[in-house]
């Protein structure tokens, strides 16, 4: 069965990460990288459900990232919630937001969709900035996020947080992959490739796309939770358009057609980002140029190119 195999791979991957952490590679730099990889990897992976599978190019995915982070942070700061309960509640809040925005946006043609999601994200950003009594405005949620120990897991320790992040990423990846394989996933692909036929068969474009939008938003919310744990706070830039832009960049680097492409893209993006930041203060110039070269040169993600190349070679061989 697909599920058993995916789950097996996920378990193996988790074991490798934890093993890496405990032998040798325990440096703080590595642990930090793993946490950021889990966070942004999850964000990119969830966005790819919209872009790659459903063909809905959202430029406002960071709204749900921000929503997850703020909802989680605010709940934890009350001191009344355990971490798992707060995560579930934060995801519910994010799903609700995605439902409202999605209901307005998914009916529209793809171009409207791209910038309406952008516009709603900027609205959320403005709300976070001005609702100071709740969000702390531009200073973010201050005072740190308490991280009570649960099930022996102490997220205040970076190594625990890294393993927890990878765990969340892998669980989400397994779930998302099941979603793609299900009839629901097949329907989304049909809506992307041939909406007329799908409507003819009797699929409700609106309901399927809205469901995809909510699922993607919810997983982005989980990424936001990880982010707020990492920086011990939540900040308006989480919901700023640049965060969405970066997520799309990651997907582009990896590729949209391969399931794990966004994760490869995330790893490349993070390394690229760290390298450019250390090298120059003209971050945008370098990143923008690299982006243009890839988009105009390859016209698809790196992994897409490699996979196509590999398939072509396999076909050539008798």
């Amino acid at each position: 069965m697909g599920f058993a195999r995916d789950a097996g791979w996920a378990l193996a991957a988790l074991a490798v990460f934890i093993g890496l952490e405990f032998i040798g590679l325990r440096s703080a730099g590595f642990v930090d990288f793993v946490i950021r990889f889990a966070t942004f990897g999850l964000l990119a992976l969830s966005l790819n459900l919209l872009i790659g599978t459903a063909g809905l190019v959202s430029f406002g995915h960071a709204a749900y990232f921000g929503m997850g982070a703020y909802a989680f942070g605010l709940l934890m700061q009350t001191g009344q919630w355990s971490i798992p309960a707060a995560i579930l509640a934060a995801l519910a809040a994010t799903a609700l937001l995605a439902l409202v925005v999605g209901a307005l946006c998914v009916r529209l043609s793809e171009i409207y969709f791209a910038f309406l999601t952008l516009a709603f994200q900027m609205l959320l950003y403005s709300v976070i900035l001005s609702w100071i009594s709740l969000t702390g405005g531009d200073q973010g949620l201050m005072g740190g996020i308490p991280k009570p120990v649960f099930l022996g897991i102490d997220l205040a320790r970076q190594e625990h947080l890294a393993a927890f992040g990878i765990f969340c990423l892998l669980v989400s990846a397994v779930i998302l992959r099941q979603v793609l394989r299900s009839p629901f996933g097949a329907a989304l692909r049909m809506l992307r490739d041939n909406p007329d036929r799908a409507a003819f068969v009797g699929l409700s474009v609106f309901r399927y796309r809205l469901a995809a939008f909510v699922i993607a938003g919810t997983f982005a919310g989980l990424a936001g939770v990880l982010m707020s744990l990492y920086v011990s706070g939540a900040f308006p830039t989480f919901a700023f358009w640049t965060t969405s832009g970066e997520a799309i960049f990651m997907i582009m680097l990896g590729g949209v057609s391969v399931f794990l492409g966004p994760l490869v893209g995330t790893a490349i993006f993070l390394m690229l980002n760290d390298w450019i930041t250390a090298l120059t203060e003209h971050h945008g110039l370098f990143l923008g140029a690299i982006l243009l070269v890839i988009v105009l040169g390859l016209r698809k993600g790196l992994l897409d190119v490699i996979v196509e190349h590999w398939r072509a070679r396999k076909e050539k061989q008798p």
């Binding site: 730099g29 200073q139 973010g140 201050m142 205040a156 900040f235 945008g284």
Partner: protein, 420 residues
């Protein structure tokens, strides 16, 4: 709020540099001896986007001070090396950079030059790592005033919102009394700094002069490109005086637009953030008589050291320093003084020395500034208000604020907040 359950303060190995090289002091600093291991100081800041000037003018000032320190022999021959990185204003990047500077690049100290959001993110990182950190650009009062934010290794070397508001409120109350200004309106950016600073200013102004009435407010969003609708709103309200804590480009836009509406002919204007050179020099038609607090002025305090700093800065970078520059320079001076007095880089010893330290400073109200021990924030720096003129020196009739009054009212304010 429960205190974070961090398992003690984990201090990471500092590459053994401090101990190893300190042991061989006494060798002459020439010949074939290896250059001393530099003391690395990490500077997470913003070098791009709308507030790039924040990072650039902080870095410039630090470089001047660090060069002077190194030229004078450093710490027993160990020079300071600045590691400056651009977070682009993203708190997550600021947190990452801070952590990376500490763990991977071997920075022993941080001069955090982030704006408030990134500053709080760095604050949380060093709360965990126990790295001695001087915040040089975060003016948000709660960073040090709120006891929950306080821990042994974080200091603020910047002006503080509440100090500015007391000084500004006092000055405004006086002017209001002389000119009988009763009807006030405010225009400030709609984010935490704008809201807090405006509320505090109004509170203190009214406490000095109860005739002051705020009859209307307007809150443009941060970085709003156009203020026409806010200006027509102000103009409808016909206030006698207007207060604003808009800053930099936003303040310039507002002043340009408001002056063609003739708003300043109708009302006195109090802009706490006007007197900074980047702002003063960019307003093409600076109206005469705008009341402003000093951000940075080369002639306030009017002492040779201040003028020398401004000229040296101008010689090297071809512009005048900003408010962020004097704060950055003061941060380096405090740190280097503490290092020399300790004679090493042990974080506990340096932090203990910084606590309560007073150094001579051309930016001090009375020739010195103090790192107040109780809440680890800078006091005694020069605050004053004056009125603008269109040419250099741009601001005249500076009135120096009285620190005894500021400290007294600050203590009351803290008690009222439950932070006393």
């Amino acid at each position: 709020m429960s205190d974070s359950t961090k398992a003690g303060l984990r201090r990471r190995g500092l590459l053994g540099a401090a101990g190893a090289t300190a042991a061989i002091t006494g060798f002459p600093r020439l010949g074939f001896t290896q250059p001393r291991q530099p003391i690395k100081v990490g500077v997470p800041t913003i070098l791009s986007g709308r507030v790039a000037q924040l990072g650039i003018s902080s870095r410039n000032a630090m470089q001047i001070e660090v060069d002077a320190f190194n030229a004078a022999g450093g710490l027993d021959g160990r020079p300071i090396e600045l590691v400056v990185r651009d977070s682009r204003g993203t708190p997550a990047e600021a947190a990452r950079l801070a952590r990376e500077m500490i763990t991977s690049e071997g920075c022993e100290f941080l001069l955090d030059a982030e704006a408030s959001g990134g500053g709080f993110a760095v604050h949380e990182v060093v709360r965990e790592t126990g790295t001695v950190t001087l915040h040089i650009n975060s003016e948000t009062s709660s960073l040090t005033a709120d006891p929950r934010q306080r821990f042994w290794n974080a200091f603020r070397v910047a002006r503080q919102g509440v100090h500015d508001s007391i000084a500004g409120g006092h000055y405004a109350a006086q002017v209001a009394r002389q000119r009988n200004l009763r009807r006030w309106m405010t225009i400030s950016p709609d984010y935490a700094y704008g809201r807090d600073t405006t509320a505090e200013f109004v509170e203190f102004a009214r406490s000095f002069n109860s005739d002051i009435q705020v009859t209307g407010e307007t809150w443009p969003r941060l970085f709003q490109p156009d203020y026409t609708e806010n200006i027509t709103r102000l103009s409808q309200g016909r206030p006698q005086a207007i207060y604003s804590c808009l800053w930099a480009g936003d303040l310039v836009t507002f002043v340009e637009q408001a002056s063609i509406f003739g708003l300043f002919a109708q009302s006195q204007f109090f802009a706490v953030n006007m007197a900074d050179y980047t702002t003063l020099q960019q307003v093409r038609n600076l109206p005469r008589g705008v009341h402003s607090g000093n951000r940075y002025l080369k002639n306030f305090p009017d002492v040779p050291g201040n003028l020398a700093f401004a000229n040296e800065y101008n010689r090297r970078f071809n512009v005048f320093p900003t408010n962020w520059s004097w704060q950055a320079a003061t941060g380096v001076r405090l740190l280097t003084t503490a290092l020399r007095q300790v004679g090493g880089t042990d974080p506990r010893a340096v932090a203990a020395k910084l606590k309560g330290m007073t150094i001579e400073s051309p930016f001090g109200a009375e020739g010195s500034v103090t790192m107040r021990a109780e809440d680890q924030t800078l006091v005694g720096y020069a605050i004053g208000w004056g009125t603008t003129v269109s040419q250099d020196p741009f601001v005249e009739n500076m009135q120096k604020a009285d620190w005894a009054m500021i400290l007294r009212l600050e203590a009351e304010w803290k008690r009222a907040k439950g932070w006393g």
